[in-house]
C-alpha cells in the first residue's frame, strides 16, 4: 500500500561538518543528521575553496552510499577457489588473526617488503605510512601514474613546486585550456569552474578549449578547437613562437627568472611555426596566431593550463611543460589573475604532529614501488608507476606474501584490468594472500581471500588538505556523521588494530589508541579560539566545530619568487657568480640553493635547482641519460611513435570521465548511475558515413599495443611497443560532430560486472540478483533489507526492461602504457580498428 514520505526536518536535524570524498577534490561539507541517518549534504562555506553551500552531483549523492542495500557489513572469508565468489561470514577477531599472522611470517622470514598495500583515493596516507613503516615495508602502491603524474612532474620541473597549480581564476581574463574537462572532472574542478563562471559572466573573461571531444567544458567554451590527439604540445610551442616573435612577452620576468634566456628560447622556438603546428594538429595556423596574441595581450591576468587531454600521452610530460611555459613568457606566473601556486600545502608532521613514537622509514626499496625504468617517477615526490605492478609481479620483479587493497578497483580501473590484473590477482603463487577493504562487493573484493567491510567516508575520521584557489594554507577535518552500520569498520582503525596484534616491535607504534585519537593529536597545534571568538578545549574540538582551519597569517603568495631573502636566511650564504644562485649549508652541512640574485637583490626565486622557472631543465637531460637516450632538457615536441603514418583504417581511442562519476567508486550510487549508466562509442559523422554506421549500430572495436619508433632511437621506445593486438569488444556507436574524425571515444567508469544492481544495471530483489552474479554468496555480508528499495523495480536502464544496460569496461582493452621518464599512463594513445557487425 501507499506510504507517506517523511520530509526532512531541518529544525530538529543535527548539523555536523566533515569532508567529502566522493572524488579527490575533497570539499569541506556540512551534513544534516536525523534519526541516525545522513539526510543531506551541502558545502561548508568556511572551506576557502568552497565559500558557499555548493557541491557537485557526486557530493549530493553522498547520503545514498551509507544505506546502499548491497553494502557489505560483515567480514567474509573465501571458502571456494579464488574468484569463485563463495564466502563465509567470520568475526573481526578471526580476520585480524589471519592478517596479523601472515604479516608476522613475512617479518620473521626477513622479508617485510613482501607485504604490500595498494590504495586508490585513501586520504589516510600518514596512517597507512605508519602501518607499513612499523612493519618495515616500503611497498605502498597507488594509482597516481593513472591519474596526474605528468601534470605534477611538469609543475615540479618548471616551478619546483609539489602540488597542482591554483589558478587565480576569479581574477583571470583569459583561459587557454589544453585538454582539461574541468566543467566535469579535473581534480579541484568544482573549485575552478565556480570561479571561471564568475570570471566569464561577471567579469568578461574568455575561455578557449582544446579537446578532441565535445566535453561539457568544450561545448560551453567561447571557442572549441579539436587538435589531433597528442599534438597539444606542438600547438603550445607554436603559440610561444608567435608570442616571442611579436614581442608580447614579459621581458623583466624572463630576464630575471627564466632559464634559459630569451635568445636561446627564441632560437629553439624558431622552427615551431604556426604552419608547422597546423600540419601536426589540424588547427589552422591563423587560429594559432590569433589565440596566441589574444592570450598574450591580456597578460598578466591570463592562465594557460592542462589536464589529462594534454598530459595522458607518450609525449604528455613535455606537452604540459610547454603549456606551463606560455605563462612564464607572458609573466602570469604567480601574478594576480594568473598561473598561481600555493606553498606548504602538505599535511606536514611538523604542523600536524603524529603520535609518538613514529616508526622510521624503511631503508629497503623494491622494483614494485620504485621501478628504475622511470627515473622521474620517484625523484620529486612518490608518484609511482602503478600500472606496471601486476605485470612486474608476473615477471618476478618482486615477490609478495601479503597484498592489502584499499579503495582501488584495479580490474575495472587498470589498463589490461580484466586480463593482466585479473590473471595476477587469481594466481595464488604470485599473490598468496589478498585482503580487500571495500564497502561493496567490487571486482577487487571478488578476487580477495578476505573482505573487510569498510566505513564510508561519511562514517570515519581523517585530516585533509589540498591546493587552495584562494592561496592560503588551510586544513579540514573529516569526522564520522553517523557510526558505520553492522560490523563495518574504518580501514585506518583496522590497520591500527592489526598493528597491535603484531610483535612488540610493531605494536609499540599503535599504543595511542584509535583513529580518532590519531587525528586528535594531529590537531594539537591548531588554535582553540575560533574566528568568531568561540573558545574550545583544544584544536581538535575547534576542528570538530568548524570543520576547517584557515591560516590567514601569511599574505597570498603572489610573486613569491620576488620575495627578498631575510638577513637570517642570508647569514652564512654564498652567491655563485656565474649563475647568481644563493647557496647556504643546510642542517646536514650540505650546500643547498635557497634563492637567486635578481636585479641586485637576493630573492627566493623558484624552488628549482637554478632557482629560476626552468624551461630548460638540466635534470631531465641527466635522468634521460640513465635510460640511454639524449634529451635536450627542453619541452620539445615529439610525435607519438604509434601515431606516425597512421593508416586510414586505424583510429585513436580516447576515454573520458563524466560529471556524475569517478572511475571506480560511484557506479553503485543509484542517482548518479541513473543519469549515466551507458557508454556507447562516440564516432564522428564523416567517419561513420564512410563506415556505413549510424547511431545505435554495433561495431567491433579492436585495440593494439603501442608501436615503438626505430630501434636505433632509444627515446622512442614504448612499453611492449610491438603493435600487437590486445583485444576486441562489441559496442554500440553514437554518431556525433562532437569528436575528432580520427578519434573514437568511450567513457570509463562503466561496465561493472559486480557492485550491486545500480552498477550492474539489473532490476530485481537484491539477494536474487546477487545470487545470479559473480559473487553468489556476497549477500551473506548484507545488512537487513531496506523498507523501501526502488532498485527492485526502478532500474529502468536494465536491458531486460528495454534499457541500454550498464555499458562496457573500456579499460579492459587499453594496454599498460607508461610514458618514458615519468611513467604516467598514456591513456589516449591507443590505436584501434573498427568493424561493423
Amino acid at each position: 500500500g501507499a506510504q507517506r514520505k517523511v520530509k526532512n526536518d531541518y529544525r530538529s536535524a543535527q548539523r555536523i561538518t566533515s569532508v567529502c570524498l566522493n572524488c579527490s577534490t575533497v570539499c569541506g561539507i556540512e551534513a544534516f543528521v536525523q534519526d541516525g541517518k545522513v539526510i543531506k549534504i551541502r558545502g561548508n562555506p568556511l572551506d576557502p575553496n568552497m565559500g558557499s553551500y555548493m557541491t557537485c552531483a557526486k557530493g549530493q549523492s553522498g547520503p545514498t552510499i551509507n544505506d546502499y542495500p548491497e553494502r557489505l557489513l560483515y567480514p567474509l572469508k573465501r571458502v571456494g577457489a579464488r574468484g569463485a565468489g563463495l564466502w563465509k561470514r567470520i568475526s573481526w577477531d578471526e580476520a585480524y588473526a589471519e592478517v596479523a599472522q601472515r604479516i608476522k611470517t613475512s617479518i620473521d622470514s626477513g622479508h617485510p617488503e613482501r607485504v604490500a598495500l595498494h590504495q586508490g583515493r585513501s586520504r589516510i596516507d600518514a596512517e597507512i605510512n605508519r602501518f607499513l613503516s612499523a612493519i618495515g615495508t616500503p611497498v605502498q602502491l597507488n594509482h597516481r601514474a593513472l591519474c596526474s603524474a605528468n601534470k605534477r612532474a611538469a609543475n615540479y620541473v618548471s616551478l619546483g613546486e609539489t602540488d597542482w597549480e591554483s589558478i587565480d581564476a576569479e581574477r583571470c581574463k583569459y583561459f587557454l585550456n589544453f585538454g582539461s574537462n574541468f566543467y566535469e572532472a579535473h581534480q579541484g574542478g568544482l573549485h575552478l569552474v565556480s570561479r571561471v563562471v564568475k570570471a566569464r559572466f561577471d567579469h568578461g573573461a574568455k575561455l578557449v578549449t582544446f579537446d578532441v571531444r565535445l566535453s561539457n567544458t568544450a561545448g560551453r567554451s567561447d571557442e572549441w578547437h579539436q587538435p589531433f590527439p597528442g599534438t597539444d604540445g606542438a600547438v603550445a610551442l607554436a603559440m610561444a613562437h608567435v608570442i616571442v616573435r611579436e614581442n608580447e612577452i614579459d621581458h623583466d620576468f624572463i630576464d630575471k627568472f627564466v632559464q634559459p634566456g630569451l635568445e636561446t628560447i627564441r632560437g629553439w622556438l624558431a622552427p615551431c611555426t604556426p604552419a608547422w603546428a597546423a600540419k601536426l594538429s589540424g588547427i589552422a595556423a591563423q587560429d594559432i596566431e590569433r589565440l596566441a596574441l589574444e592570450f598574450a595581450r591580456k597578460r598578466p591576468a591570463v592562465a594557460a593550463f592542462t589536464n589529462r587531454g594534454a598530459g595522458a600521452h607518450y609525449n604528455g610530460f613535455n606537452a604540459e611543460r610547454a603549456v606551463v611555459m606560455l605563462n612564464a613568457l607572458v609573466g602570469s606566473i604567480a601574478r594576480p589573475g594568473g598561473y598561481c601556486y600555493g606553498l606548504e600545502e602538505k599535511l606536514s608532521a611538523s604542523r600536524y604532529p603524529q603520535p609518538q613514537p613514529v616508526p622510521p622509514a624503511p631503508k629497503i626499496r623494491t622494483d614494485l614501488e620504485d621501478p628504475p625504468e622511470w627515473p622521474l617517477a620517484n625523484r620529486w615526490q612518490k608518484m609511482k608507476v602503478g600500472q606496471i605492478v601486476y605485470d612486474y609481479l608476473r615477471q618476478g620483479r618482486a615477490k609478495l606474501d601479503v597484498y592489502l587493497s584499499y579503495t582501488i578497483a584495479s580490474p575495472m580501473t587498470w589498463p589490461e584490468g580484466r586480463s593482466t590484473t585479473v590473471e595476477v590477482l587469481m594466481d595464488e603463487q604470485l599473490i598468496p594472500f589478498h585482503a580487500c577493504s571495500d564497502i561493496v562487493y567490487s571486482e577487487m573484493a571478488h578476487y580477495a581471500d578476505l573482505i573487510l567491510p569498510d566505513a564510508t567516508y561519511l562514517e570515519r575520521w581523517g585530516m585533509d588538505i589540498r591546493n587552495n584557489m584562494e592561496l592560503t594554507h588551510f586544513v579540514t577535518l573529516r569526522q564520522p556523521l553517523v557510526p558505520p552500520p553492522g560490523e563495518a569498520r574504518s580501514f585506518a582503525d583496522v590497520l591500527f588494530d592489526i598493528g597491535r596484534r603484531l610483535g612488540p616491535e610493531q605494536a609499540k607504534y599503535f599504543q595511542f589508541g584509535s583513529h580518532e585519537d590519531f587525528v586528535r593529536i594531529q590537531c594539537s597545534k591548531l588554535p582553540a579560539t575560533g574566528p568568531d571568538g568561540k573558545q574550545f578545549k583544544d584544536g581538535f574540538e575547534y576542528m570538530k566545530h568548524y570543520g576547517v582551519y584557515v591560516d590567514t597569517s601569511q599574505p597570498k603568495p603572489y610573486e613569491v619568487f620576488q620575495k627578498p631573502l631575510s638577513g637570517k636566511q642570508l647569514d652564512g650564504s654564498r652567491v655563485d657568480a656565474a649563475s647568481g644562485v644563493v647557496y647556504r649549508p643546510n642542517d646536514k652541512g650540505k650546500d643547498s640553493a635557497i634563492g637567486l640574485m635578481a636585479g641586485g637583490a637576493a630573492v627566493r626565486g623558484f624552488a628549482t635547482p637554478s632557482r629560476k622557472f626552468e624551461v630548460h631543465a638540466p635534470e631531465v637531460t641527466l635522468v634521460a641519460k640513465t635510460r640511454g637516450f639524449d634529451d635536450d632538457g627542453m619541452p620539445t615536441f615529439v610525435q607519438i611513435p604509434s601515431h606516425r603514418k597512421l593508416p586510414a583504417d586505424r583510429y585513436i581511442l580516447s576515454t573520458f570521465k563524466w560529471n556524475v562519476h569517478t572511475q571506480g567508486r560511484t557506479a553503485s550510487q543509484k542517482y548518479l548511475t541513473e543519469i549515466v549508466h551507458d557508454n556507447p562509442m562516440w564516432i564522428n559523422v564523416a567517419t561513420a558515413k564512410k563506415l556505413g554506421l549510424k547511431s545505435g549500430d554495433m561495431v567491433e572495436l579492436t585495440t593494439y599495443r603501442p608501436q615503438s619508433g626505430p630501434a636505433d632511437q632509444p627515446s622512442l621506445q614504448a612499453y611492449r611497443g610491438n603493435g600487437e593486438k590486445i583485444g576486441s569488444a562489441r559496442m554500440r556507436v553514437f554518431v556525433t560532430r562532437g569528436i575528432h574524425p580520427r578519434v573514437v571515444a568511450v567513457s570509463n567508469s562503466l561496465g561493472w560486472i559486480s557492485g550491486g544492481r545500480a552498477a550492474e544495471g539489473r532490476s530485481g530483489r537484491r539477494v536474487e540478483v546477487a545470487a545470479h552474479g559473480i559473487g553468489p554468496e556476497a549477500a551473506k555480508a548484507f545488512g537487513p533489507a531496506p523498507a523501501l528499495d526502488d532498485l527492485n523495480a526502478g532500474v529502468w536502464w536494465d536491458k531486460k526492461n528495454g534499457g541500454r544496460g550498464n555499458g562496457v569496461n573500456i579499460n579492459a582493452l587499453l594496454p599498460i602504457n607508461p610514458q618514458p621518464l615519468v611513467g604516467m599512463q598514456s591513456w589516449f594513445d591507443t590505436v584501434c580498428s573498427l568493424r561493423k557487425v
Binding site: 501507499a2 514520505k5 526532512n8 543531506k40 557541491t55 549530493q60 565556480s194 560529471n659 554500440r732 526502488d790
Partner: protein
C-alpha cells in the same frame, strides 16, 4: 532569507542559462532531498548538442546547451484547473501544492502540464512535483537545487521584496528574462535568461507536454534530438 513583512512572500525563481554547466548537482540534490524514485523526476537537466558558427573565425562548430527544468509554479496553472478533485491548490506564497489525501491519481494534471513536471510517485501513490522545497523554506533555507548550484544559476527569493536575489536578477536582466514555452500562456513564476541565446528556443521541444519526464532523455544519443519521448530500443 529576506521576506517582505507586509504581504508575505511570493516565491519566484530566475534561471540564468548562460552560467549553467550541466553538472546535475541540482537534480541529484532534489532526488536526495525529496526521496524521488528512480525513473521519476521533480527536476531534470536537459542536454542539447547543436551546430553553430565560431564567431571568432566563422568556422562551423558544435555547441552544447543545458536546460534545467522543474515545476514552473504557473500563475495560470493548467494542472490546477484540470484536477477533478480540487487536490491542487495555489498557496498565498505562489507555490502550487498537491494535497496527498485528496489526490486519486486521475493523471489529469500530468496530461495538462506543458512542462512534464508532474509524476505519480510510486511510493506514496499520489501525484508529486516540485514545491520549491516548501519544507526547507519553512526552515529558512533555500530550495535544494538553488543552494547546491556551483555556478549561481538560480536566483531565488521573494518577488515582493526588491532586495531578494530574484527581484534583483529581474531588475538587472528585465529585457532578457522569459518563460519556457510562452505560447502556453501559463505565466510561470520560474523564468529563464538565455532562451533564444545560449539555449536555442527549439530546445523546449525536449521538455514533454502532457506526460512526465522521460528518463530516456538522459541517453547520450538523444542529446541532439528535439523530441521529448523516446521509443524503448529492443532488448540488446
Amino acid at each position: 532569507m529576506t521576506t517582505s513583512t507586509s504581504a508575505g512572500p511570493k516565491w519566484g525563481m530566475a534561471i540564468d542559462l548562460e552560467r549553467c554547466i550541466g553538472c546535475h548537482a541540482c537534480s541529484v540534490a532534489c532526488k536526495v532531498e525529496n526521496s524521488v524514485s528512480l525513473g521519476h523526476f521533480r527536476t531534470k537537466v536537459y542536454y542539447y548538442d547543436f551546430a553553430s558558427i565560431n564567431p571568432y573565425n566563422q568556422q562551423p562548430t558544435t555547441k552544447r546547451a543545458f536546460l534545467p527544468t522543474l515545476c514552473m509554479q504557473c500563475e495560470d496553472a493548467p494542472c490546477l484547473d484540470a484536477c477533478p478533485n480540487d487536490a491542487i491548490a495555489r498557496g498565498s506564497d505562489g507555490i502550487i501544492h498537491i494535497d496527498d489525501s485528496a489526490c486519486d491519481r486521475s493523471r489529469d494534471c500530468i496530461k495538462a502540464c506543458p512542462y512534464g513536471a508532474i509524476h505519480i510517485d510510486p511510493v506514496a501513490e499520489v501525484a508529486d512535483k516540485c514545491d520549491f522545497c516548501s519544507h526547507r523554506l519553512a526552515a529558512d533555507m533555500e530550495p535544494a537545487c538553488v543552494e547546491v548550484c556551483p555556478a549561481d544559476v538560480f536566483a531565488f527569493g521573494d518577488l515582493n521584496d526588491p532586495a531578494s536575489p530574484v527581484s534583483r536578477f529581474h531588475a538587472k536582466h528585465r529585457q532578457q528574462v522569459a518563460p519556457l514555452k510562452p505560447e502556453e500562456k501559463t505565466k510561470p513564476l520560474v523564468q529563464y535568461r538565455g532562451l533564444g541565446g545560449v539555449v536555442p528556443r527549439a530546445m523546449a521541444h525536449k521538455v514533454p507536454k502532457g506526460r512526465s519526464h522521460d528518463p530516456f532523455s538522459y541517453e547520450i544519443d538523444t542529446w541532439d534530438q528535439l523530441k521529448s519521448q523516446f521509443p524503448r530500443p529492443k532488448g540488446a
